[in-house]
Symmetry: C2
């Protein structure tokens, strides 16, 4: 992803934090992680996030999704004898549609990203409005998409080790690679 | 504490959540924990909180302090071979003054509660405004007080086991006892 694209996404996420009344520091804003998953279509498949804290015991992040932006399907595997990451999503602003393993919802509210629809395989819908939350059990495949206005979600979890996440889409690279714009 | 006092404190905390733009559910509002620490002076020494999630791996709470209300000094001991609770405080609204072990701050911003001043023994000040945060290492004595407008603080932590907290003030009972109002 180009540096300029990263900066633009950071500014857009920062504006959403401001609208939601969530204060972040200037340093946090400058460090907003823009995850494009190596797919080069950030608008449809991507995620913006701030990791507030990640220790060997717990982790807390704030996730930002642009309108209809999707975080692709993935699973958190067990690491070094510990069960996979356990996550609680608490919707703070906007609306988010979360999909987990289980009985598929007949008419889902999300629009499956067309470019990679084969890599979305779980369709049990959990719809979260502000103040609502859901805990994803370790070892559960999941993906999520914001509603039409975007969404901000607090993620409370066990220790985060994003680099070990397993995505259903084999084309995905989780860790962002930023390329400098040409002069 | 009387049921009526609990309800009043819950309503006051709920109004602060609304002012801060933090959405909670009706069920969460009805369940706001009002901790008076058995001291019968909630206005000066007390804490209101919602536990969003508390699993065997992590915990997340939202803490509310009324103006100048103080959460008394305590420590989280090791439990069953695990180190004591580790906590990250992130100020969301208002201002909070946190005191931990370390070089005492010369002029602290908090007012030590007069009725129990002997039980406040650590004075290394960490002042937190919205967007600022601090992680309290396990086994560190700490206490905190809101500024003049009160404060809302997100607490991200390892598993919470409040019943084992050790307070410096021997008169404190952590777990609330609610008495029904007389008819």
């Amino acid at each position: 992803m180009l540096r300029s694209e990263v900066k633009q996404a950071q500014q857009r996420a920062a504006a959403m934090f401001a609208e939601a009344g969530i204060t972040i520091t200037a340093e946090e804003q400058a460090g907003i992680e823009v995850a494009g998953f190596g797919l080069d279509r950030l608008e449809t498949e991507g995620l913006e996030l701030i990791t507030y804290v990640n220790t060997d015991r717990y982790c807390a992040k704030e996730l930002v999704l642009f309108p209809r932006q999707t975080c692709p399907e993935h699973i958190h595997p067990p690491i070094a004898g510990e069960p996979g990451k356990m996550e609680t999503f608490r919707c703070r602003w906007g609306k988010v549609f979360l999909y987990v393993e289980g009985a598929p919802t007949e008419q889902i509210a999300a629009v499956v990203p067309a470019a990679s629809s084969a890599y979305y395989t779980v369709f049990h819908e959990v719809s979260l409005s502000p103040g609502e939350q859901y805990t994803i059990a370790p070892g559960t495949k999941h993906w999520f998409q914001a509603g039409d206005e975007g969404s901000i979600v607090s993620e409370f979890s066990s220790t985060s080790r994003d680099e070990f996440d397993i995505f259903t889409d084999p084309n995905i690279e989780r860790m962002p690679v930023i390329t400098e714009d040409e002069a």
